[in-house]
Symmetry: C2
Subunit: 487 residues, 2 copies
């Protein structure tokens, strides 16, 4: 007995050193968390070069995971971009508009498959807390598209019948067209929970979504879940809670990003407290670039050209961070082309679920998550913005732009403190850019690279045949109908 | 005896847990390491938003220390910027030129005090391995200015009698004026060790400086030391060793930065292996922004305006990382204005050494290193670039620009693969920028802020009286003479 009491120290030590290893998690059913910002620029996160404020939780997420430097949201505007994320398709394939107004009679087609519906094949619990914007009539709301729970604003947080400072719409208002909008609804599942009329309600949004996201994690900690947190921020009108107001010294925009960073920290804390960090794939990105004519209430593209509402890189290239300790090695950076449309097929690849029967545009980027630096799962990308116009094509680091008119933020004074400035009129010329050499899309090198140009024109032809291109009068043969109330 | 052999496990454990604590280091004599790049842009480091390659060692240095987002090199060109770093003074106060050519008859004045001379007050060992550029005649070389050891090129690595691709200078060469330059000397202490004539010698530079820096650390591990590593890279002609050639997929510029990152890792490893990381202040920054007309052989300003050779932010705002575990908490970000001229007085503050008797321009930013977020040690900054022209003034996040002509990189095609493009002619107007709202210096807000303008004009007057301003015909009363061979 005495012998047992005097166990040699090295035996206790070796026990302590090995007792921490647990069973390997089942990496075919990770939890999935997608945190999706609104109007966040490429340069708005600490580890992507933000100036004037800090984002320690996002920096930590990136340091412990994978950070992309050439990740494109699939469209430069809200509804189209969110459609692409959730269905793995270019929004133009689904005949979706850039942006739905309140009470639109159309929305996401029930025949399309969202990530939530995909994961229902494996019995995932699914929740969305934030902005939807794929149609606000009941037929189009999240619960009819694979989600078990919803709390949020069904469209943009500036679609309300008050002016930018929350005051009444007048003849002098910047957007008198909003006078007929209903009050901004906060929807729970399929019904309006309350209406938001004051800026103070906007101040609560990030905290509110976060609290619901944390409750969802705690409720579903014992089963696989898909949590989608599409923040309303940093879309104008900016709102921030008292705990972050004035904290950034950079003004309200910095405060708002710091609160989103706090929100990421709260979600990671909830995962950690329930032992779920190891086997949860957390993805952080945004729908489109910054709305630059809002001046100090807009973000930064970090030197990319133009912003939201364009098919220039500033309109679509986004920070993207993926964290999943069970698979992704810490401290990875991928410079490969990737897009929001790749998230659905990647999740299908991970979980062994069936893709929809119809054509999708995304490809699985799982090799990039695994750290395979030779893999190049996405070689091309098509830029659609206005109508069904093919405005650009990517082939690796090459970008071919077709002539088109666009809003411009150049050579015009932006607004201030929540009020917008006007746009100038941009005219994009036919041009080939080498984004590796020229990420700001300034120098046409078409004459120097005729073979690249010819190859990319062939790629463009494929998209014109497939999805179409109004700029060249082409009908795409593989577009599918938008959802309609008369469907 | 048996009892001693069977020591209870908890005693061994508690011994192991406490045996790691050592005596607190003497934080008044930390080792100082300054790693100074050449022509590095604000956006060229991973944690500052670099696209296309990774810098894991620099990212780690930043994550474990303090990262600045508003750190200015004190001049937009090489010799002037290095003078400012080493003396704590605007180069214009010392009558120093932008750039010294080979065999210049002038250089740094022996009456000025460098950081190396300051630290000699406390018996520091001092070494410089890299580019000097404060004058290449013996009188002006490092050993006459406080350094014990030198190995490196005494000026820029493109100041040699060959063309950009290493071929002979011809009538068609871009820079025929270089034909009379001597071969590029690699100087050891006060004598030429060898001459560099081939691009393959440039490829070895980063490795060579690094090996010498590591040896220096090992040699002086038992005494306080000041190690200054002013890399020749990423100044053109780019050179990179075989171990990094082609590694970045972004082209040669990315390869070069990855090798500099490797160099930082080697220096940190040498510090670590000698137990010196805890009490070493490591500072990483650069002399000026990217030389953008070199296209794919130049870096990126991350969206800041213009580049090297201007007083726009792209010319002088730099990544700056400080790491010193004994004092600096990990994961700090400072958005306060700071500059290379502040490094000398900060080191004096840390070490309790005597500042020079003459006036200097830097202020101690030790409170920022300590994490005091309320501290604002530097409120103003003066932008000199051409001659003795005061081209701009900073007051916090405000920047006032005075009308002046400048080289511009806008609206002109840059060069490629090591050959430069030409400049366009820029005309800066009298304008007030709010860099918090408008880091790209695009929108003049002078009319909106007359009181800010008035306050900043007063600041400008102080600089005109003190250092002078040829734009307004003012002689500064406190300029000091440059060093001369006839001194």
């Amino acid at each position: 007995m005495n012998k047992l009491l005097f166990i040699p120290g090295y035996i206790i030590l070796s026990y302590l050193l090995t007792s921490c290893t647990t069973d390997k998690p089942d990496i075919t059913t990770p939890n999935i968390v997608i945190i999706f910002c609104d109007d966040l620029g490429y340069g708005d996160i600490g580890t992507y070069g933000a100036k004037g404020y800090e984002t320690p939780n996002l920096d930590k997420l990136a340091n412990n995971g994978l950070r992309f430097t050439d990740f494109l949201s699939a469209h430069g505007a809200c509804s189209a971009s969110r459609t692409a994320l959730l269905t793995g398709c270019y929004a133009n394939r689904l005949n979706m508009p850039q942006v739905f107004s309140p009470n639109s009679q159309t929305g996401i087609n029930p025949d399309e498959m969202t990530i939530a519906e995909l994961l229902k094949q494996k019995g995932y619990a699914t929740g969305i807390f934030g902005k939807w914007h794929l149609g606000d009539l009941e037929l189009f709301l999240p619960l009819q598209h694979g989600f078990d729970e919803y709390l949020g604003i069904p469209y943009s947080n500036d679609m309300w019948p008050v002016d930018y400072d929350g005051g009444p719409i007048t003849e002098e208002s910047i957007n008198p067209g909003k006078a007929n909008y209903p009050p901004l609804p906060l929807v729970k599942d399929n019904a309006v929970l309350k209406y938001l009329n004051g800026l103070e309600d906007q101040d609560r949004l990030t905290t509110r979504y976060t609290e619901r996201a944390v409750s969802f994690i705690e409720k579903h900690k014992d089963e696989p879940f898909f949590l989608y947190v599409p923040h309303s921020m940093p879309h104008v009108p900016l709102g921030v809670s008292d705990k972050f107001r004035g904290k950034s010294r950079q003004g309200m925009f910095g405060d708002v990003i710091m609160e989103i960073d706090w929100s990421v920290g709260e979600i990671m804390k909830a995962l950690d407290e329930n032992g779920l960090v190891e086997n949860t794939l957390v993805i952080f990105t945004s729908d489109n670039g910054p709305w630059l004519n809002y001046g100090n209430h807009a973000g930064s593209t970090g030197g990319l050209k133009e912003g939201k509402g364009t098919s220039m890189e500033g309109g679509v290239r986004e920070p993207c961070i993926m964290n999943w300790p069970a698979l992704i090695q810490p401290g990875q950076v991928s410079n490969r082309l990737a897009s929001t449309i790749d998230i659905l097929p990647t999740i299908a690849d991970i979980t062994g679920t069936q893709l929809p029967d119809h054509k999708i545009d995304g490809v699985s980027i799982l090799p990039l998550l695994r750290g395979d630096t030779d893999a190049e799962p996405r070689k091309t990308f098509y830029y659609y913005y206005h109508n069904n116009n093919l405005e650009g094509v990517r082939m690796g680091h090459w970008k071919l732009v077709f002539p088109h008119a666009h809003r411009s933020y150049e050579n015009v004074l932006p607004g201030n403190d929540g009020f917008p400035g006007s746009y100038s009129e941009g005219k994009a010329a036919y041009a080939l850019y080498d984004l590796r050499r020229d990420p700001g899309e300034r120098y046409d090198v078409m004459e120097q690279y005729p073979e690249i140009l010819a190859e990319m024109e062939k790629l463009a032809e494929q998209a014109r045949t497939d999805i179409g291109d109004e700029l060249t009068g082409r009908e795409g043969k593989n577009r599918r109908p938008r959802g309609s109330i008369n469907y």
